[in-house]
């Protein structure tokens, strides 16, 4: 770094760099699942308040993204996927990310509490704490089960959306949480099987590296079976229904079938067709989660015609 770097125009942070700190791509999953949780909750909510609640949940998610980038700036600089982030490139100083993260955390939690209730506000605060302290600071660099823990943080939004309307935590919202929670490991680990990552360079333990690819295949199958139980269980609650159940049955059979093929393969098979099965499984996993939450919406919108639900 030279003395003039501070005046270097190209490296000055623009508004977009601060937006990038909030991980806008992760936010799309947060917004969608929070939206479903909020909409299917019984009782209903003023549409404007609902919209604001989703916005505050998204901002809270963004705040945890900024805090994650502040803490992980050292490892982000070592990995190709994350080298272009605002802190490693020097456009934003780590203290700025910390400040933005803390400010937006306070803002989003207080605003969600004021707009809805303390259960929703408290859940959002807990989510941010969980993602930043439990996952980012503590477990990410320590255990290869880090994906499972990180997935829990990503699974809270539908529960927060539900609580924004009902002020409550119920079996429905817990199962919506469990759906994303159990989905994350097979989703992420199938990706880890075919993408060459440099987590090892950053000393982040990844299951494929610490326990090998064989163990990863076993884990994918185990979590996929748990996931099927959760997905079908959700269908039996008050927000499920025959349409959800029918679609879920097909999707879960298909997902388990994919997990079994992954489990049966050796790395030699996998290399031979350049990880075709793993790639397909990963692609399908995106569709899988989207359709499950989508079907909850379908059940909800059928209800006024006497068709949704049980």
């Amino acid at each position: 770094m030279t003395d003039t770097s501070i005046l270097d125009q190209d490296r000055d942070a623009g508004f977009g760099d601060y937006v990038a700190l909030l991980k806008p791509r992760v936010m799309s999953l947060v917004v969608f699942t929070a939206f479903v949780g909020l909409l299917v909750a019984p009782g209903g909510i003023n549409p404007f308040v609902g919209l604001c609640a989703i916005l505050f949940i998204a901002v809270g998610g963004g705040a945890s993204g900024a805090l994650n980038m502040w803490w992980d700036a050292d490892i982000d600089a070592k990995m190709r996927r994350t080298q272009g982030r605002p802190i490693p490139t020097g456009r934003v100083r780590p203290e700025e990310a910390l400040g933005l993260g803390v400010a937006l955390t306070g803002f989003s939690v207080v605003m969600l509490f004021l707009a809805t209730n303390w259960v929703a506000g408290g859940l959002l605060a807990f989510t941010i704490f969980f993602y930043v302290v439990i996952y980012t600071m503590w477990l990410k660099r320590w255990t290869p089960q880090n994906i499972v823990i990180g997935g829990a943080a990503g699974a809270f939004p539908p529960m927060i959306g539900w609580a924004a309307v009902t002020g409550d935590i119920t079996i429905e919202s817990i199962l919506m949480f469990a759906l994303t929670f159990a989905w994350t490991p097979p989703h992420f680990w199938s990706l880890a099987l075919f993408v060459k990552s440099d987590y090892a360079k950053a000393d982040v333990p990844m299951l494929t590296v610490t326990h090998g690819r064989r163990a990863t295949r076993n884990h994918i199958l185990a979590y996929t079976i748990v996931l099927a139980g959760v997905a079908l269980g959700l269908g039996l609650t008050s927000i499920g229904g025959p349409a959800y159940m029918a679609v879920a049955a097909v999707l879960n059979l298909w997902f388990i079938k994919g997990a079994i093929s992954i489990w049966r393969r050796t790395d030699a098979d996998s290399d031979a067709d350049s990880h075709l099965v793993e790639r397909k499984f990963f692609k399908f996993s995106l569709f899988y989660l989207f359709i499950h939450f989508g079907m909850l919406l379908v059940e909800h919108s059928l209800a006024p015609y006497g068709l949704g639900g049980w």
Binding site: A13, G14, F15, N46, V49, C52
Partner: protein
Amino acid sequence: MDKIRATHELHQRRLSRNVGLGIVLVLFIGIVYGLTIAKVGTDPNDELGAEWAAGQERAAK
């Protein structure tokens, strides 16, 4: 002595940040205003909301 410039080069560089922050603040005002209307308008304990609550009750029957 240097000429006084209308805008320092810094202002140019930080234009996107300043405009962005301005938009965010204006949106925030809109949100607080909207939330006030929405919440006051649906609180059965005040005049505006009592009407709304009565309407909800009628719709439920």
